[in-house]
């Protein structure tokens, strides 16, 4: 049986199921904690750190921390908002993101967070790192300039025997995402679409298919990211 516990977010009291992940508990209460690597139902990676919140005064990742009784969670504070903005800026300087020419523009979570946190000019110097584009597989283009290493594709896209299509390669600053050349040849239509949809940015793109929804009518073109969750609170 699930145990109901009390907790607070930004001083307001709530009740929730013990053990549930903080980002999911908050979403149920109409409180938006941004995520880039999290995907409901998939083992949390805790890699993008954008969901950082303070729990009883300590920084924790909201996507990997289970709810405990009497947690005092801070989410909407100037300190935390600035850190989230910094992480978005950092992702922009680390990769090479040119929104106006990106196929995912308007459907991109990173871009949408840039707008939400009103990023103007990143405070950090650009890295301008050279990265490859891998278009060798029949169904997908891997635009590595845009990868933010969220590991969604790594965790979610498997073949019938459970083999991985995607994995990391290298470490640290040499980290890159790679698609298995052999498996990619027989990748199903379903998996190809799933991979593109799971990608929060424009790194994984379906080849030879046009985009049904034009720019201007996409997910985040008129509403800020997180609005769907915050609506519950209104």
């Amino acid at each position: 049986m699930s145990e109901i516990v009390k907790f607070t977010i930004d001083g307001k009291e709530y009740e929730g199921v013990k053990g549930q992940l903080l980002v999911e508990v908050a979403a149920e209460k109409g409180i938006y904690i941004p995520v880039l690597c999290h995907w409901k139902g998939v083992k949390p990676a805790g890699s993008c750190r954008i969901c950082s919140v303070k729990v009883n005064g300590r920084f924790m990742a909201g996507c990997t921390t289970p709810l405990e009784a009497d947690m005092k969670i801070e989410n909407d504070t100037p300190e935390i908002l600035d850190i989230r903005k910094a992480i978005v800026e950092m992702l922009f300087v680390e990769g090479n993101h040119f929104c106006p020419s990106c196929e995912k523009s308007g459907n991109c979570d990173l871009q949408a967070l840039g707008y939400r946190y009103q990023m103007m000019v990143p405070r950090f110097p650009y890295e301008f790192e050279r990265r490859d584009i891998d278009a060798s597989s029949p169904k997908l283009i891997i635009e590595k300039n845009r990868c933010i290493f969220c590991k969604r594709c790594v965790r979610m896209i498997k073949d019938e025997q459970g083999k991985s299509y995607f994995a990391f390669k290298g470490r640290g600053k040499h980290l890159q995402i790679s698609l298995d050349k052999k498996l990619a040849v027989t990748m199903s239509e379903e998996n190809a679409h799933k991979a593109m949809d799971a990608c929060p940015v424009g790194c994984i793109l379906r080849k030879e298919v046009g985009f049904a929804v034009p720019i201007g009518k996409r997910k985040y073109d008129h509403v800020s990211i997180g609005t769907d969750i915050e609506k519950l609170n209104k």
Partner: protein
Amino acid sequence: MREKVISIVQSYGKNSGRLMDILLSVQSEFGCVSEEAVSLIASELGISEVDVNQTKTFYHFFTTNRVGKYAIYMNNSVVSEMMGMAEVVDELEKQTGVKFGQTTPDGLVSLHFTACIGMSDQEPAALINSVVFTQLNRDKVRKLISDMREGKPVESMFSEYGDGVNANPLVKSMVKNNIRKAGPVTLGEYAVGTSLGKALGMDPNAVIDEVKNSGLRGRGGAGFPTGLKWMFCSKEAGEKYVMCNADEGEPGTFKDRVLLTERANMLFEGMTIAGWAIGAKEGVLYLRFEYKYLKAYLESVLADMRTKNLLGNNILGKGFNYDIRIQFGAGAYVCGEESALIESSEGKRGEPRNRPPFPVQKGYNAKPTVINNVETFCSVVKIVEQGSAWYKAMGTEESAGTKLLSISGDCEKPGVYEIAWGMTLNEMLAMVGATDVQAVQVAGPSGSCIPPSQFGRKIAIEDLATGGSMIVIGKKRDLLKDVVMNFMRFFEDESCGSCVTCRSFNMILTKQIEKVVAGTAIRTDIDNMKAWSQIIRKTSRCGLGQTSSNPITTTIENFRELYEARTKDVAYQSDFDMNKAVADSCKVVGRVPNVHHE
């Protein structure tokens, strides 16, 4: 090749959990793990090639291209640089005619850099085909390369062996122990098996209580109370594991190397006591690849203990079954983080796990696991033998017992010292014969850079905590260039990269310190570095990211004048030099670069 690779995979039971061992065997057999080998391993294990590659490319001792018949891995850690690495590098490149990162056209020699190899008391040092060469200089390099041209075996390229077990026929190494001060615990008198016999006569909970009462705290650096860790694990149900973290990678630390050499029995005995206490049947020693030269010896010690019934079935007739195996790493600093170490032992990338669950709940193979440092297990042996009161009487109120320090850098007597916690830095510096000291780097790059005004502070968990690395930095050193920049480049290389802040901020901060050293930074850059360091400290997943900005923050705090002397007090300064950028093209057309000349 095909048959060999397949037989290697089969020798590990086609178990992808042993991927590290498979890759290590292939690398050592063929001098590389080629794409063809990756493909074979993947198909034998029934996993995809990207999954083999993700592990392979994480560790820097695995290479896609064949390394030279003699693969020289030069240590480029801070102390190696301080002790003259640049000259050794220069001579190596001169003698071989190739640059670092390359192999001679005949395939004879390849040159590589590697992070700290645990020889900071005898630098500059390098590994050549896993054999350690210490205190290198130009003359020695010339001799080495000429020996290689003659095709001599690496083992025959030196004649003098180090002291103690280093001279054992199974080690035959030139490494020196440099034990300068032996204390009563880890380097004191020791009789094999006494403590284990006593422990097996006690109730497991009583053993845990003894460790708890001793006040022993983890010796790897984090300082978690050992008895508490054991108690948590003992309360979990089912199969359990004991793991020993022998991946000391913090630049400047080498005390575990000395324990592994001189106290291998004691270590294994400590791991066995832990197994009895928590109810485990298997122990794993995770040993850094840099210490591969100790492999044959350590295995002989294990075999000897089995013969003496100190390991194996029905140990000392008490009905306890327990054994230990050695798991090698393959070059990754982050694997010193306990959950990354577990991942690595399972054949995966050494990426730290999210907590909870903690290893004591869900560790190796998803079973409850106690992980302790080499020195911690050795300390347990004496605690059980002599009693917790004996142990607690040493050290300070909050830091009980003794601590091994690895002291290196600008001092007369670098080496290993077993001291009681509570010694001041001043006392330590007098002990090692250090004068004209600019700073002491306490606890390695992830620790603090301490100025002379604070040399009265104590070495203790409650004041200056340390896993053992103590680097003395003399006044002649350029602190920002020789030390801080080296440390930041180290973290930039060693971040696993899976969490954004650690991967990216270490790159950003490294560029910033390079800018300061190059003289193109301005005052606001100093404050920016300080502010940005807070973000990585607060939001990174593991200890690596949380502490990797320490070289910058502690030197800004304690040596701000060095930063101010190298930065201009102006609102803006371009770090882009146009004249330099067009130098090459000007040369081609025969012009003198003169863009925006003032």
